[in-house]
Symmetry: C3
Subunit: 219 residues, 3 copies
């Protein structure tokens, strides 16, 4: 079993855990756990394959991925009550999934096109899309809009893998390095609250203020 | 016209009705009815085709599906005021669409791969995705997070079809049986409030409680 | 460089600006600007290519589109504080993107299938999907649910292009005419508050009222 395949299973499994944890926070039933775990687990890779034209997508070709998601859903269903803070655990598993998947996305994008730009974008999209779907479907506040560094970690991992393999590093080594970089960036952000300077001039006006000022018409 | 084609038109039509009913609840204009009816009607099947690599997708090959959606939008636009509870009707049409589409999705997934696991997943995704899109786009509370059984009905229908055809039942008969199973499960849930035991230990803390407890940083 | 390619770059660029403006309203960091600008810029065209089976999608084949999005994100990051109403500017750029992209979508749909119905649908989907993604990801109220005419403008542009080219007008001329029509319809709606008669009988009951009336079960 090669490195990228291991990464792929690992990424699917940890994202599936975050989907199941979101289901437990919303007190869904067991089928809800299976559904959210599967969608979160395979979402990012599905988008990657569709964009690159690799159809049918990876889990249609190899349904073991679905069984991995189902196993994670069951595991969380029976153990989540033991955990003090499921949301904090969700964020840490999400960080691990982000690290595994930004490298997988970059590797597939690079292999398909040879373009570093495409590798960066498929890396970031693959790493973030599962979490975006999970948050949309479970009504959690989007992880994208959280103040600490998030997309940057995926970009750092995808960039490290791309530069390292283009410079001739063996893929397995480059993947290990890139995962470490991505996880340290996102983990540091979670542990220490790392942020980039945010756009500060001013926040957008709310819908009500826009109506009051005549920028948006009242209905 | 074979059984699966009839099912496909039926699934598109009833999901289109639910999209148009959501548009009427939000008091959109006629074009809004057409848009929501079309997206809801063709959403699930589009995801199915993209995942299975059947591109271009079904309604590009056969645009009659779009005309079916448009006809349903017009029908609802001119008759919705006659209906006492449009949301209840939306839920029942959604149940019919779910039943038709979980079988269509499973049939196409099984035909494309021969894998029962893939058939279950494409069945569930096809049956639920149109409603997910409708709820996201119209700002309705997601049907996925409702307390009564929902995804389970799609899973039951997809499973019935898969097992029955694998056991040698003629596809048309298997489809009829599976639709009946899915519709009875979801219909029973709507009529009698059937639920599975939900995950009970405790609900997730709200964003505010997470901030208070230091699990999420305040901005 | 032919007309449609220019249109494509223009559509991507102006939608990228709207994504970056949404990022500035939410006070995201620079990477957040890049992410939202890229997803909004390439979202509609990605859906169009996936639906039509043109995989890999356009920006994978030609990554210059990504660089265009990145440039727009940087531009907005450093200039947005100069603008009095970023939301109003967002709506106008969105109108320009809608006009460019409804024509691009219709042109690709028509070229791929020869069907006017398909051209109308791919035109509308391409023109609206980037904005839908932007609003979902940034938590803005959906532009689809705004009271003034929106989807109609995309439909008018896609229809004008389709009819004009089918009647034998040269594509470049038809594209120019269709863009003007779409932009005037949406621009007029923004400037003068044009609306179609909305569905009036009554709005949908809220979730609370549905529970009170026993149409939705309380949990």
């Amino acid at each position: 079993m090669n490195t990228l395949l291991v990464l792929d299973y690992a990424g699917v499994a940890v994202f599936a855990v975050t989907g199941a944890l979101a289901a437990s926070r919303k007190q869904l039933d067991l089928i809800g756990f299976l559904f959210l775990a599967s969608v979160t687990g395979i979402g990012g890779g599905t988008l990657r394959d569709v964009i690159l034209g690799a159809a049918p997508v990876f889990w249609v070709t190899n349904p073991v991925y679905i069984l991995v998601c189902a196993a994670m859903a069951l595991l969380v269903y029976f153990t989540a009550h033991l955990i003090e803070s499921r949301y904090r655990l969700l964020l840490w598993f999400d960080a691990a999934g982000l690290a595994a998947y930004c490298v997988m996305g970059a590797a597939k994008g690079l292999a398909a096109t040879g373009s570093a730009t495409v590798a960066l974008v498929t890396g970031v999209l693959t790493a973030t899309f599962g979490g975006i779907l999970r948050d949309l479907l479970s009504g959690e506040p989007s992880v994208l809009l959280r103040p600490e560094i998030y997309v940057t970690a995926a970009l750092a991992g995808a960039g490290t893998y791309t530069v390292a393999t283009m410079a001739g590093m063996p893929p397995a080594l480059a993947a290990g390095l890139a995962i470490a970089v991505a996880f340290m960036v996102r983990g540091g952000a979670l542990a220490f609250g790392w942020t980039f300077p945010r756009y500060r001039p001013r926040a957008g006006r709310s819908e009500d203020e826009l109506k009051r000022d005549g920028i948006v018409r009242s209905e």
